[in-house]
Symmetry: C2
Subunit: 112 residues, 2 copies
């Protein structure tokens, strides 16, 4: 059974401005209300989560995540716009499975 997996990364110069890890992190920050709780939920170190947030906040013209005075963090309006467009881009990419080129590859794999 063939399965297509696509990884979409948006580079800004040498930095990865957005990709699967940052998308998952923004969603976890929204669910948990803080960078540290999001990191725990994803089994990621706080340091790594903080660096991912810092990278996308630096890359984009406006921050995607803002820290809340007194603790916690939330996804900004810009953050939601980028996240939603990224998830939509993934759905567009899934449509590659309808192309003749994909079928030519998957038809070369034994059925299972």
């Amino acid at each position: 059974m063939a399965r297509l997996k696509l990884k979409i990364q948006i580079y800004a110069g040498p930095d990865i401005a957005f990709g699967p890890g940052k998308a998952a992190l923004l969603e976890a920050i929204d669910r948990t209300g803080s960078i540290s709780a999001a990191a725990r939920a994803l089994g990621m170190s706080y340091r790594r989560a903080w660096l991912l947030v810092d990278t996308c906040n630096r890359c984009f013209a406006a921050p995607l995540v803002e820290t809340i005075p007194g603790g916690g963090a939330s996804v900004t309006e810009r953050g939601w716009a980028v996240l939603n467009s990224y998830r939509a881009l993934e759905r567009h990419a899934d449509s590659l499975t309808t192309t003749a080129d994909y079928r030519r590859i998957s038809d070369s794999l034994p059925p299972d």
Copy 2:
């Protein structure tokens, strides 16, 4: 300056039947005429190159690479069909940069 990077992997059950590494390896085998020379050209160990060839040969219904008695290796007709379809799939994927969703992300990055 935003740049979209896409990694396309074709899974067959738990195995990666085809992806960027295997595509590059098939092209190098065609250029160099052997798995060992292809491995050297790509800065990859012979063991790793052999394992990549073995995985795609086992995943597909027919081998993508055949070893030549007396030494050397070549890409089979099936190998070329899969490789060409894979490269075409990458070109389809590049067209994601024309979507409104991609523009929404890249427009959020500062110009440079």
